[in-house]
């Protein structure tokens, strides 16, 4: 039941509602004192759109900072562990942005590599784009393994030494989702008809796997009539695979935020993040080059879905760069 207008109870209720703009960690630190200030302010100025807007903006900035995307320019954070928390938040956001980038990047890359399974591209830009993105994908694979292995070991050690739901639940979700993605990708990749012997730039099995895992990035969503002709199992996979990918990414980010990594490992991961941003730039340049020229007819044609994909990748790249910088700031080696 809402409190009567102008009463102390109403001011308290409104202050509590305004406080919801801020993330949980911020509320834990400033809850009581900020609420007291808000109540006093509401009593003095019962209606103030400027105050609401100011708090909304402050809350969004605090949430971005909590996600490691608008980190404070910290040189000497005073709270214990604040630097490590900032670094972990930055790395988690970097991982999420990289996953979005790779999700759409894989769709574009598989289009190029599948095309090359049938015939080498006739246009120079499609050739350069395929070679550049393939090399970048190889670099992503190496970086991903180098980043994931020590982090997974650290998570496993902490989960075994001190079992807690905060780690075991996201770890179980991550394993389930990645297993589903791998098995599903293999299953539907095997259903790809193949070329009957022609060799592409990358092994056909790898290209087909990428094609299957990124099947949901499709212009067919805008054409329900054409979509209706798809096999039911493939449609189900197109709906389930992005959910599984989102679950895997969210679980991995949660683990990164909750695991107490050593400063040495955090610094290593942050440096890998910086290198990953450089590889993203190369990959994006290759894709942009192909999309800007429209590719060529048939197999290597770049359509509207590819333009949208490159746009989303550019946004993800910007976020990843910001997150990587926040992680470096937290560790105190930004700019080096």
């Amino acid at each position: 039941m809402n409190a009567a207008p102008g009463t102390p109870r109403e001011a308290t209720d409104r202050a509590a509602r305004l406080l919801r703009w801020y993330p949980a960690a911020w509320r834990i630190r400033y809850d009581e004192e900020f609420t007291e200030l808000l109540i006093a302010d509401i009593r003095e100025r019962p209606r103030s759109a400027a105050r609401t807007l100011d708090i909304a903006r402050g809350g969004i900035v605090a949430r971005l900072a909590d996600a490691g995307l608008a980190g404070l320019p910290v040189r000497a954070a005073t709270a214990p562990g604040a630097r490590d928390r900032q670094a972990r938040a930055g790395l988690a956001s970097l991982g999420c942005a990289a996953a979005v980038f790779l999700g759409f990047g894989a769709a574009l890359w598989s289009q190029l590599t599948i095309g090359w399974q049938w015939a080498a591209p006739a246009s120079g830009t499609a050739t350069v784009a395929t070679v550049v993105t393939s090399a970048a994908m190889l670099a992503f694979l190496a970086l991903g393994a180098a980043a994931a292995l020590p982090a997974a070991c650290a998570v496993a050690v902490q989960a075994v030494r001190r079992p807690r739901r905060a780690l075991t639940v996201p770890a179980a979700l991550l394993i389930t989702a990645t297993t589903l993605l791998f098995v599903g990708g293999r299953h539907f990749g095997n259903g790809w008809p193949g070329t009957g012997g022609h060799r592409g730039l990358v092994p056909g099995g790898l290209a087909a796997f990428e094609w299957a895992t990124s099947l949901s990035v499709s212009a067919y969503w805008a054409h329900p009539g054409a979509l209706a002709a798809f096999p039911a199992a493939e449609l189900a996979w197109m709906a389930v695979s992005p959910i599984a990918l989102a679950c895997a990414v969210a679980a991995a980010a949660t683990l990164v935020r909750r695991t107490e990594f050593s400063p040495r490992l955090l610094a290593f991961e942050a440096r890998l993040g910086t290198v990953a941003c450089a590889v993203m730039a190369v990959f994006l340049a290759g894709c942009s080059c192909w999309v800007a020229t429209g590719g060529q007819r048939s197999l290597f044609h770049a359509g509207l879905i590819d333009v949208a994909g490159v746009t989303i990748m550019a946004l993800a790249f910007g976020i990843a760069q910001r997150a990587a910088r926040t992680a470096r700031l937290g560790l105190g080696f930004a700019g080096r």
Partner: protein, 122 residues
């Protein structure tokens, strides 16, 4: 204030401590100036700043600036049983504030003297 002068000699870059605050530099200066004469909680800060500067800092902006100042060690929260937690200036904050205000005063002095020379007003 003796500690402040000592700190100023040892930390020549403290004048730049507020440089990274961007749009919050104004709020940060007002908050630190208000805390220069003793501890205050959020509401007392708002009223004090309104009285000496004629501006009312909104709660969101105030706490954003407080969080930044605290994370940089320029102010610190004081333990209190009251729900309204008070803050105080740290020694590093006093050094940074003095350097910042000195720089602002130099600009003001130049502006005022040029106004007096060319416009006859000061």
């Amino acid at each position: 204030m003796a500690g402040m002068r000592k700190g100023a000699r040892n930390e020549p870059d403290e004048g730049k401590a507020l440089a990274g605050f961007g749009r919050y530099a104004g709020a940060a200066t007002l908050i630190m100036s208000s805390l220069a004469d003793g501890v205050k909680h959020g509401y007392a800060l708002t009223k004090d700043i309104e009285s000496f500067a004629g501006v009312r800092i909104s709660p969101g902006t105030l706490y954003e600036a407080l969080a930044r100042l605290e994370s940089q060690g320029l102010i610190e929260a004081v333990d209190s049983d009251d729900r309204r937690r008070p803050y105080r200036l740290t020694a590093a904050g006093a050094v940074a504030l003095k350097a910042h205000l000195d720089a602002q005063r130099r600009v003001a002095d130049v502006g005022l003297s040029r106004l007096a020379g060319h416009w006859g007003t000061a």
